[in-house]
Symmetry: D2
Subunit: 238 residues, 4 copies
């Protein structure tokens, strides 16, 4: 199992608040707690954003964190990531990655939401306790301060809704949601604003680790499409 | 369109608090605001709980409120209501009806949840704004005091999740959920504890009216089942 | 209710077989049987493909048929149609429209499938008989000759699967599938190869008419997104 | 991982055709190919149908085959199996088990279908190729002769539809379908009429083995329900 953690890696270079929390970058912090996989990282400012064909062809699950530079991700790389998801690569999209080109491409919707930076307490409730992504988690866990994300979240109805967030200021959010596109499994997970130490939280880490295992690719190839003239079909019709 | 509002009708006879709010019974208050349909009522203590075969065969949508006497509903009536739902009758289950025999029968699960009677403020968020049941409703509406219902709610994953509730005390709940069983459409809607004037709230009334229209039966008959030997099939195989 | 029927309108000009079946174009034949709505048409070779902002802003449900010239549809028009779907416009995608830019945009997948032009008999089975789109239809209906479309169909799992096709040559296909994107309802319906008189079939017409009614927009506006600082939230947190 | 294979075990004792195919019973044949688990069997005519509390409490995944004696299964055992599914035990229901008390209990519907015993060829198509239950399977596989099951199949819409069957005589069927109830995962798989050697087919065996792995229980306990007064909630509201 090979996991690639992709991070925009800009906030950490530009903000003392963020670099104090994530001195090596959000990607390195995430990479540090992934278990049961070989982990590599890739960032926006590397050639091909670190996502060459070779890297992606050798990635089983891709984790994506981006925020302020979504538009700088080249469309050719978005095409490449989408194709790999359809072929079976797992994709875990975190927090402000809701607005990334790749997530919008795979959802087909605007992916917008309400937000507020006001140190709201967040309580994340498990609504599908038997799901592999909820394995080992309590009925709810709290993040003492986070950015608020509120409904309506403009995504297709999740195929599985695993978590719902409650916010101190009065909002709710579908915080843990699964989708399938082609052979690929996708998990969106809400928490992780850059100004809070969210990726040091053990429950958050557990969710992401569970999601990595859940999203591992099938060994089935991508299906055959196009003109279909099998002998069986022809013989049957005689 | 014919709507039957079923109510257990016990709290109103036993509690001054409840009878002050609903002097004619919860069923009469609900019946009073249903639009675009002929409305009748039925209650637990009537013969056959007011749900004779004739009544049910002439009901397009049945609304169900029950709480303290679920066990007194006879199984033969539960069978009858289930059969009518499978044939196409709509069913709207309100609040503590989550624990009714008919809802548990149709869900196949325990239908349990967390609850607290502590005058929590409830904020009901629309998460599927284009759904017919959300028609004309704001992004959220509030009930200043309600009983809290919290996750995990032990139902199958809703086919459509229309509303999520936020509670002041820190909980969330899947408050508006649709299901189909056979030809019948089912809507569960959370609000409506007997000690609060919830069914006088115009947004609550709007939701229930929308649900009645959404749940109206198809004119298609119930499908044909069993041994199937159509001429077409036989001839095709020669 | 305003319906716009969009057609590529190329086969009819280039093939005698097709123009014999649809002398006025597939769009005119579809427009001729739509009931309960004002119907207009639009085609690829009109300015803006007949889909100006004014036309789209006044369209409640858009029907889409395209096949050989998907690439000629300008991206700016695809953007515009997508935006209108998110705002609530219904969209019915027919047959080879599975490969249109707009359908692939809204699905997020490749939308590919198997196909064969061999006069297969198609039998379309209703698997959700209580659904509004199945209203008035028999358990199955047949098209004596059609192009075969076979699984795997590379779409997200349909939110509702209304019809499954059986083909004489040995294949199955998810033929009638619903999706929601933003406020908009989408229905994909398989039949309608240009060399067969499929849009003269009364059952096919019934499905499309039902879908038009089902896909009508909500009157709710598109939700509010972005920075969210309501007074209620602020006051609550003190 | 502990698997219990439950079989009615009546046809094998009463019919020479069946006992020739399954001399030790269908349960023993199924038990013989399950991999990666300790496997035990249980049958209708054992005390408590072989499903004592001890047996069920030690079962991770239960496989169910029944047909002609569904009514002889005691309700108290059905209650017990349902409770274990809600707690997390996986359940795989095979073929005519569609009409078992436990499957109808968990579905909430009639679970009826069309059938024909006419040696139809069955072709089982994978419509969700990336699903763990489809792992290692071809795009379709065939059973040269089987009982036909045809739509409409009176179940709730499957949460995941993995396989669709094509039958020579003109029918289709949703043959591989997943559901969740409480913490438990359920898979219905169509093939396996007692007069055909279906459980010797390697693709059928692969599906059932995949399903066993997919259905393994979560280690999360069943959620807490009822009156909920956590200190956190109370303190928050002051």
């Amino acid at each position: 199992m090979k996991v690639t953690v992709w991070n925009e890696y800009r906030h950490e270079k530009e903000s003392a608040i963020v670099s104090n929390i994530y001195p090596e970058g959000i990607h390195q912090q995430i990479a540090s707690f992934i278990e049961g996989a070989d982990v590599a990282t890739a960032t926006l400012d590397e050639p091909e954003h670190g996502l060459s064909e070779e890297v992606l062809n050798n990635t089983d699950v891709l984790i994506w964190w981006g925020h302020k530079a979504h538009d700088e991700v080249q469309d050719i790389i978005v095409d490449r990531v989408q194709q790999r998801v359809l072929e079976g690569m797992g994709l875990i999209v975190l927090h402000s990655g809701h607005f990334s080109k790749i997530f919008k491409r795979l959802m087909g919707t605007g992916c917008d939401l309400k937000w507020r930076e006001a140190d709201d307490k967040e309580r994340i409730w498990t609504v599908m306790p038997g799901h592999p992504i909820a394995e080992g988690l309590p009925e709810f866990f709290e993040l003492p301060k986070e950015e608020m994300y509120g409904e309506h979240f403009d995504i297709p109805a999740p195929e599985e809704l695993v978590f719902i967030s409650w916010f101190e200021g009065g909002e709710v959010f579908r915080s843990g949601a699964t989708f399938k596109r082609g052979n690929g499994k996708i998990f969106y997970f809400r928490p992780g604003h850059e100004t809070y130490p969210t990726y040091y939280d053990s429950n958050v880490q557990r969710v992401i680790n569970n999601a990595v295992q859940w999203a591992k690719p099938s060994t089935n190839g991508y299906p055959t499409y196009g003109n279909y003239q099998p002998l069986e079909s022809i013989s049957e019709k005689e």
